[in-house]
């Protein structure tokens, strides 16, 4: 459920066969070519830029296990802005949506892409929920939304480890601790088990030494190495 790390171009090149590597070369060239054009919806509403078709077909050409990495590289190469990302997310399969969510930290968007994260957190697809609590969501969700995201992970079986920066952000969060205790009490009253992760997160909410100031949201490297 916790996704495997995104691979760099160099790592992908080492793993892909000749045909897939050639396909990726062409796809990235098309994405780079798309950069100078205004980042708006296609003029007639339906014509699809070639690199976006590549975005959809990435798994078939480079292997489903590499689709997230290839899609992330395409988004970075195209320097995709919010309108494009929103379109790719809204018209994407679950896997395409997941790749958008995972790439958000590398695109210099500030908090503007938060509606995509909020959409993913409203779904019950655990692959999307897990991607939504990655570095971008964890860095930008407000405290209330973040606590509900953590609770939703516990509800839906997404490992707490999927929540980026969980330890730092949980520390001293009395409201999160209350929500966790209430949830545990509800489970116990119903004669159900309490998820092991709940105890783990609850322990993290203990007040500790003053938490360091939140670091900037990490970025996905655009370098080839």
């Amino acid at each position: 459920m916790t996704p495997t790390p995104l691979l760099t171009r160099k790592e992908l090149d080492a793993l892909l066969g000749g045909a897939a590597r050639a396909w990726l070369d062409e796809a990235l060239a098309e994405a780079a070519h798309a950069v100078p054009h205004p980042d708006t919806a296609p003029p007639d509403g339906h014509a699809v830029p070639p690199w976006e078709l590549r975005y959809a077909a990435a798994g078939r050409h480079c292997g489903l296990e590499h689709a997230d990495s290839v899609r992330a590289l395409l988004l970075i190469e195209a320097r995709a802005k919010l309108p494009t990302l929103t379109r790719l997310y809204e018209q994407g399969t679950a896997a395409e949506r997941r790749a958008v969510l995972r790439t958000l930290p590398g695109l210099g968007l500030g908090a503007t892409a938060l509606p995509l994260v909020e959409d993913a957190l409203r779904t019950n697809d655990t692959t999307l929920v897990a991607a939504a609590v990655g570095p971008y969501g964890a860095g930008h969700l407000d405290p209330h939304a973040w606590r509900h995201a953590v609770l939703k992970c516990l509800f839906t079986g997404v490992p707490a480890a999927a929540v980026h920066g969980l330890e730092r952000r949980s520390r001293g969060d009395a409201e999160l601790a209350r929500m966790l205790r209430d949830y545990a009490a509800e489970r116990t009253a119903a004669g159900r088990t309490v998820p092991a992760d709940l105890h783990h997160v609850l322990a993290l909410t203990a007040p500790g030494p003053a938490a360091p100031k939140a670091p900037a949201v990490p970025t996905v490297s655009t370098e080839e190495s």
Binding site: A56, R60, Q91, N124, F155, G157, Y183, R192
Partner: protein, 282 residues
């Protein structure tokens, strides 16, 4: 026994159905886009439906150990509604998705000029996207509808072996098979075909290029009809290999022409612990 249901509308079914299907041997299915029982009034409502067939429904199926693929199209009935036809312009964007294994259901409902246009246009879309096509034959005036369908397929750029003619029966099976297309049969509790008639068709026409589906949807239908046919085949003296051909290898061969079938969905966890379909807190 492994079963591939090549035509079932899981959007209309419950998780109990998924579990029962898994227990009966169903490990893969194709969900064609179709009429929802309630008319749509805009392309946007099609797109939401397509999104569900590409995201939520495969997730739901995977929780129960079943690989989910879909076919996308403007269905014959709504091809007659000008509020819906603009979805044809949006289809190319969706036909490139990984789990789309055909264009469908297309075909005839009332055999109108609007249906002619939509059928021909979507057969061309299938050819353009390297996809096969799932073609529904009409409920009313079925034999004439089949002949007109075969004519349109012949005029298209799609080879007959990339076309599955569905909802066939005793009156249409011969011409369908003679056309070179694949032949699909929907097994229903009351209408369409039943399992014993299906076995009779298989005895007469053999097991090559024949697919059997439940076509279960929001109406009176049964998602376990594929298994019922398998049992009826064995009872009638067909071998397990015959059953495997009709209920697994034939649908794999037909939809496999898309190059997009992935059938390695892991088995479900025994207790479904942490299954978000349970909505949490259960």
């Amino acid at each position: 026994m492994r079963i591939f249901d090549p035509h079932i509308h899981m959007t209309s079914r419950t998780t109990d159905d998924y579990r029962a299907m898994y227990d009966a041997g169903v490990r893969a299915l194709v969900e064609p886009s179709f009429w929802l029982g309630q008319p749509r009034t805009s392309p946007a409502s099609f797109l939401d439906y397509f999104d569900a067939l590409l995201g939520w429904e495969p997730f739901r199926a995977a929780q129960y150990g079943i690989a989910h693929h879909c076919t996308l199209a403007l269905n014959p009935k709504e091809a007659n509604d000008p509020r819906c036809t603009p979805v044809l312009d949006a289809l190319p964007r969706y036909l490139v998705k990984d789990s789309v294994v055909a264009v469908g259901e297309i075909g005839y409902d009332s055999m109108t000029p609007a249906e002619d246009t939509a059928l021909a246009a979507q057969l061309q879309l299938a050819a353009d996207h390297g996809l096969p096509a799932l073609v529904h034959t009409p409920h009313r005036d079925k034999l004439a509808g089949l002949h007109r369908t075969i004519d349109v397929v012949r005029e298209s750029h799609l080879a007959p072996e990339r076309v599955l003619l569905d909802h066939l029966n005793e009156t249409t099976v011969t011409d369908a098979l003679d056309s070179g297309c694949w032949a699909g049969f929907s097994i229903y509790p009351d209408t369409k075909m039943d399992e014993d008639r299906m076995v009779a068709v298989l005895k007469l026409h053999g097991t090559e290029r024949i697919l059997v589906n439940s076509a279960a949807d929001w109406g009176r239908s049964d998602p376990l009809k594929t298994r019922r046919v398998a049992d009826a085949m064995l009872a009638a003296g067909f071998t397990e290999d015959d059953v495997d051909l009709v209920l697994w290898r034939n649908p794999v061969a037909f939809y496999g022409q898309s190059g997009r079938l992935h059938l390695d969905t892991p088995a479900p966890e025994p207790l479904h612990e942490g299954n978000s379909i349970l909505r949490g807190g259960e």
